[in-house]
């Protein structure tokens, strides 16, 4: 049997606490439902009118003692639920105090920008983090309301323009955890995916070092032509490539695009072939995305792909 995701595979202490609470409350709910179902089934069998009986049953108007009993019992159940809610929240969502955020998450229509203020790394859609470490995320939005959600790692939190939120997040095991925007944010809400890559401290540091490298801009050959096209074909109006005049943050930072696993916030796996397809017409794979069809010729597309692949 393939592994079920989300609540069935909690991969952080926070998510484990929330999953436990969910199971507990669902179990109580199933118990209550069972009582009602059994009672109704018994009634259907026992109190069905027989066709030849036209007499009226005993007219019972109610019983105040019974009403009090079935008012007090739910009050007790609610008290238990509320107590469990409080204790789980305390465990999952401790105060942030004067902690500085480890990662700033910025929602855009329809991709995620991740900024690591302590190292200066700026990347998109793939969030690297060291395993077994509790990180503080600051959640912001540049345009409309989004929601940061990685089901196996923890809670949802809205990304709201003009309002900053914080959450704690950590992964209890290394691996790739998939998430997505959970607040409807427009045409391509469905393709605003998150890929969390939890890795060992060493791997994470290595990734961070690599991300900080300013790549050499190719001057010649097909990649050199691509670099020139990137400047002249309006790519740089929206994207950043470190070490070049391209410094806009309207679209994702492309400096180390060739190290990412997907493109288009999870629409396609990242390969030169898919990148080519994407550049020919991004609207075909992500209809409504803010990157227009740039109407590039095949040779221009190949040159830009060669340039982006050459950035090391």
């Amino acid at each position: 049997m393939e592994k079920l995701g989300g609540l069935f595979n909690p991969s952080s202490p926070e998510m484990e606490a929330m999953a436990d609470l969910t199971y507990y409350i669902i179990a109580i709910s199933i118990g209550i439902l069972a009582i009602i179902v059994v009672a109704v089934t018994y009634i259907i069998i026992r109190y069905r009118k027989s066709s030849n009986d036209s007499s009226e049953p005993y007219q019972n108007f109610g019983d105040t003692r019974l009403e009090i009993v079935w008012t007090v019992i739910p009050i007790a159940i609610v008290a238990v639920l509320f107590q469990l809610t409080c204790s789980t929240m305390k465990a999952v969502d401790p105060p942030i105090g004067d902690h500085e955020p480890d990662i700033v998450v910025i929602g855009h229509q329809w991709w995620w920008e991740f900024y690591y203020p302590k190292s200066g790394v700026l990347t998109a859609n793939e969030l690297h983090m060291p395993v077994d470490k509790k990180l503080l995320l600051r959640i912001e939005s540049i345009d409309v309301i989004h929601d940061f959600w990685v089901p196996e790692l923890g809670r949802k939190i809205d990304a709201i323009p003009g309002h900053t939120n914080h959450i704690w997040i950590g992964a209890g095991e290394p691996g790739i955890f998939l998430g997505a925007c959970a607040e409807f944010c427009g045409t391509q809400h469905a393709n605003m995916r998150i890929r969390v890559i939890a890795e060992t401290e060493e791997e994470f540091n290595e990734w961070q070092q690599q991300q900080l490298v300013v790549p050499r801009t190719p001057r010649s050959g097909i990649a050199g032509k691509g670099a020139e096209l990137f400047r002249t074909k309006a790519c740089m109006n929206c994207h950043t490539i470190a070490g070049t005049p391209a410094a806009a943050r309207i679209g994702p930072n492309l400096t180390h695009l060739n190290k990412r696993q997907t493109i288009g916030a999870g629409v396609l796996t990242n390969s030169p072939e898919n990148l080519t397809k994407w550049l020919v017409n991004p609207q075909k794979y992500k209809q409504g995305a803010l990157m227009p069809n740039m109407k590039l010729t095949d040779s221009e597309v190949n040159a830009i792909v060669a340039y982006l692949e050459a950035l090391k």
Binding site: L4, G5, G6, L7, F8, M18, A19, L21, T22, I25, S29, L33, I36, A39, V40, I43, I44, Y47, R48, K49, E56, P57, Q59, F61, G62, L66, E67, W70, T71, P74, I75, I77, V78, L81, T85, T88, M89, D93, Q109, I139, D143, V144, I145, W149, P151, K156, I157, D158, I160, P161, G162, H163, A182, E183, F184, C185, G186, H189, A190, Q287
Partner: protein, 557 residues
Amino acid sequence: MSSKIPLVPENITPLPALKENEGMLSWVSSVDHKQIGIMYLISTLVFFLIGGLEALVIRMQLAKPEFDFISPEVYNQMFTMHGTTMIFFVVMPFLIGLGVYLVPLMIGARDMAFPRLNALSFWLVVFGGILLYYSFLTQSGPSEVGWFAYSPLSEKPFSLNKGPTYWALGLLATGISSVASGLNNIVTILTMRTKGMTMRRLPLFVWMILVTSFLLIFVIPIIASAFAMMLLDRLLEATFFTPAHGGSAILWQHFFWGFGHPEVYILVLPAFGIISEVIPVFSRKPIYGYEFVAGSTVAIGLLSLGVWAHHMFAVGLGNVANLYFSLASMLIAIPTGIKVLNWVATMWGGKIWFATPMLFATAFIIEFVIGGLTGVAIASVPIDWVTTDTYFIVAHFHYVLFGGSLFAIFAGVYYWFPKFTGRMMSETLGKWHFWLTIVGFNMTFFIQHFLGVMGMPRRTYTYHDFPYWGSMNLLSTIGAFVLAISVIIFAWNIRRSLKHGEKAPDNPWNAWTLEWYTTSPPAVHNFDLVPPVRGRRPLWDLAHPDQPDEPNAKVVV
């Protein structure tokens, strides 16, 4: 019931309504509550079919992963229009329309307190619906921002199309209608009850309409002002909800849910009323704990005004606010639970006749309890953080609004159809409708609980082929088509029974409230004579003079 106990003559001053033999004009110009009620029901049936078609388009697109049935824009338009239609143009006007038809009859009155206002309320719903659907004819089609229209997505910089403007205008029109019918109901119920019909003897359906009407006049102005601000933002460059210009994105959510959560009870309290009428009649017993059923309705109404931010646990309002709204929301389970247990206790010891209305009422109890229990679960903040904006929530509120409100509406249609039309609905088709609804409904929505907690977000036009997602969604889609068949049978049953249904007697179910005392369908003036009301069940008292509900009650003449 034709016994000659002192009868109370009723004021029969003629109103300018119901001209015989004038065809459509007698309907269009009518201020008669029964004609208006029937026009409400017919227009909601039309909107129900439209909203259902939109649901089928949604489920088709989700039938398999990465499916290309419709574009993302069209998908977003479909779920926006489905939600808006079903809430504002189906369930809400159906329940209001049912109230408009039944309340005067149940309290022994000639008409609503303000018959012309009543007609205005109805025509404003039609006008609002036309405004909303007119947006299909605009260049970029209807609104794509969801029935909740969160700002700033619904603001002009992010939604340049005209859709959200028509959406807000249409709903503003129905908002005026709702406030007007709320006031009309309140005045009617408080001032026009026949002699002897004290508040403690009011049929429970009327009680629920009364509480609903107070909710309408309290909360519709909240959303109406939000619509006005949204329209100012969109048309006159105001910036109430635009953070980039000093507005607030969260403010809209407070307005929206300040209305939106009580709205849930506006959609479900009259449904509770229907169930509280149907279950006693078919169990042949009075409602168990009348005071507790009526009182718990008032408690639900009051609590519902103070729980709106449980829709906003992911917004980041802080844990003090979250905990307050969590506890307040959980408290609603208590009066709701009291109701469910009283319905079960009413059936207990009865002699139950499982005609179609009772089948739907019995199923209502189970389906609604499932929706209610998941509702308590998601009132717990951490569970909400897991489930909000996922298919778990879609499943939850369909169990409340379909398994709850719509099941009660079906029960109500089968129960009162003979009174409205003078003909019985087909029991055979009714049973087909019932069983296909049970299968289709649970097949469509139960599985969505699992999809939600496995991580499938709502309002997404496509999804990756994660383990089991494809097959679970396909099952849900098949269920939706089973439901579609059941709805076709229901519509066919109505059409067929109107023409060929068995003639209905005045009181086919041997029921006890006043509407069953008059002819089926009732005459223009409702009652020739209103029987004396000496208890909660006037027709029981008439039929059992030796065993009245309130043996010591005095007859008020």
